[in-house]
Amino acid sequence: MRTILITIAGLIALSLHSNAQHASLATDQNPRYEQSRAKYMNKSDSLTSTQGTTIQETYKAYDWYEAREAKRKLRKESNFYNNQLDYSFYGGPFFYPTLRYNNFGYRDYGNGYRNYNRGHHFGW
């Protein structure tokens, strides 16, 4: 008898709780709104921190003229870099033993780079 009474009381309490929950819903409100609420409650700070700002998701547009200019610049830089490389040293791929190896004994004519002509020394 006692068990039956406890079960009935439990069912009544559950029913009341359920009714109370439904009573707090607005008209036509989804009864499972709590799941969505719980999902966003903890991350609202991070999701709203960018409000009022511009997110830059830019792309690189192909521009024929700019591409040509960039290619020219790259070629110029590449030539400049290659000109600085001196392969005419002893053991280098373009080494050619001459009396003027390393311009020894000759002026450099102030061009800033030793052996600017990349070892095209023919000994005269």
Binding site: T48, S49, Q51, G52, T53, T54, Q56, E57, W64, Y65
Partner: protein
Amino acid sequence: MYFNKLKNITVVAILGLMLSSCARQVTRINTESAADISGNWNVTDSRLVAEEMTKSIVSAKWLPAYLESKAGKKPTIIVGLVQNKSHEHIEAETFVKAVESSFVQNGNIRLVQGGKKREELRAEKADQQDNASVSTMKKFGLENGADYILQGSINSIVDSHKRNKVVYYQVNLELTDIQTNEVVWIGEKKITKAVKN
């Protein structure tokens, strides 16, 4: 003697020319005037977008409809995110601020802070809880909840061949009801430029 004098004059003239050519010249120009230099997004584009958007959003149907349905209660707007998906760096704040300003000047629209500025306001409020006098301390939980959120996007299409380039920009701002997700207004500004290098 004559040669020396001529030499001095020439040196002074050359020095003068060098100094004048090296001196930086700054000329103030009217912000309203159109000055296209590179063909990229500039102040004129931003101004055109601002003018179009402010004119459109304040005069659109959503505002009288809201005022009527809420018995004259003013709608509250928060500015959300603007996505720049174009090929250039564009700061949307340059025209979004003009739209915000139009809200404030309109008098029928309320504007609330969002993002980092709102964080700062809440931090200040928190600071006041410990440091301000009780009579001047601002309370938590009394902020105006926004009814609408203003969001936007910037897109572009670039078509170029040899020295010719045509750039198309499309700027959209959208006003959405936060409760229902219903978009109540979309503002659009299209700008097309032909650039010849």
